[in-house]
């Protein structure tokens, strides 16, 4: 069974939920899906659907990148580590020197989203450098 058929329910759900720029590409038995979701909720729903079709994603036959449409550029983020502080590094990579730390649950300024994995941030103490984006939750300004 082609991989795309296996994940057809996921593709249908994505389209119905308003995911735009949907790119689907099958290569060597691995399906690659990319798209922009209108909200984080839609993104979570798609990941849940993926988990339902392929429990714990263990088949390894799908690479999914669902970006959340940012209506406004991200300017600040909450440090969402489990408990520890978040390392701030000289460059994007754990091989780079640690130049500072952002406290757990601290709000930091996002200077630039260098790539999907590393963001350039600045703490309120003025420490500036790269932090792993997985532990940063964008803060939307409340009007």
């Amino acid at each position: 069974m082609p991989v795309q058929d296996k994940y057809q329910e996921l593709l249908t759900a994505a389209t119905q939920a308003g995911v735009t720029d949907l790119k689907v590409n099958e290569e060597n038995g691995v399906l690659h899906i990319e798209g922009v979701a209108p909200s984080g909720t839609v993104k979570d729903m798609l990941w849940a659907t993926y988990d339902k079709i392929d429990p714990n994603y263990l088949s390894g036959d799908l690479v999914m990148n669902i970006y959340v449409d940012a209506a406004v550029p991200v300017t600040s983020a909450l440090v969402t580590t489990e408990t520890s502080n978040l390392n701030i590094r000289k460059g994007p990579g754990t091989d780079q020197a640690i130049v500072g730390k952002a406290a757990h649950h601290e709000i930091v300024t996002v200077i630039s989203q260098t790539n999907e994995l590393w963001w350039l941030i600045k703490t309120k103490d003025g420490e500036e450098g790269y932090a792993y984006a997985q532990y940063l939750t964008p803060q939307t300004e409340v009007n």
């Binding site: 290569e27 060597n28 038995g29 691995v30 690659h32 990941w47 988990d51 714990n56 994603y57 263990l58 088949s59 390894g60 036959d61 690479v63 999914m64 990148n65 000289k90 460059g91 994007p92 990579g93 754990t94 091989d95 260098t114 790539n115 999907e116 994995l117 590393w118 350039l120 790269y130 792993y132 997985q134």
Partner: protein, 164 residues
């Protein structure tokens, strides 16, 4: 009397002519003076000088705008320089530190970054695929899979992975 006057006029004419001739600066001299001045200044080294009727044209590459301006001011201050045409180009600024514009690439380092806080997991790249082994809690794995997918690997080999 008239003869005298003519003679004086002649002397005057010769003097004027001579002075005019002497005061007319030679482009080659200006060029030499400018080159000397510029070469004495480390900032201006590498500038080429051309002179045409007192108009100095500077060309070459300056390391920045300040250096370019400096060359021009120095040249303009040299005797007999009528004007300066500054054709110097400013060297492109050095590329920003490699940290900027850093596209995500699937490599061993990127996997190490992602697995840093998962001591129970081992990961490597094999033929463009991410190979993982070890144990991980489900919630953490869900988060990690989203992170690893951003590396856009060719696929996964998760046969050695156990979800707790």
């Amino acid at each position: 009397m008239k003869k005298h006057f003519t003679f004086l006029l002649m002397i005057a004419a010769i003097t004027i002519g001579f002075t005019a001739c002497k005061s007319k600066p030679k482009d080659a001299d200006i060029k030499a003076a400018v080159e000397k001045a510029l070469s004495a200044d480390p900032m201006s080294a590498g500038t080429t000088v051309a002179v045409d009727k007192g108009v100095v044209t500077l060309s070459g590459e300056c390391k920045d705008e300040m250096c370019k301006k400096h060359c021009e001011e120095m040249t303009a201050a040299i005797k007999d320089v009528k004007s300066v045409v500054n054709n110097c180009t400013v060297a492109a600024p050095p590329p920003p530190p490699s940290q900027e514009a850093n596209p995500v690439v699937a490599n061993e380092q990127a996997i190490m970054d992602a697995l840093k806080d998962q001591p129970g997991l081992k990961g490597m790249m094999k033929d463009g695929k991410i190979v993982l082994s070890g144990e991980i809690a489900k919630a953490k794995w869900q988060m990690l899979k989203q992170t690893l997918d951003k590396l856009k690997p060719a696929g996964y080999d998760l046969t050695g992975l156990k979800i707790k």
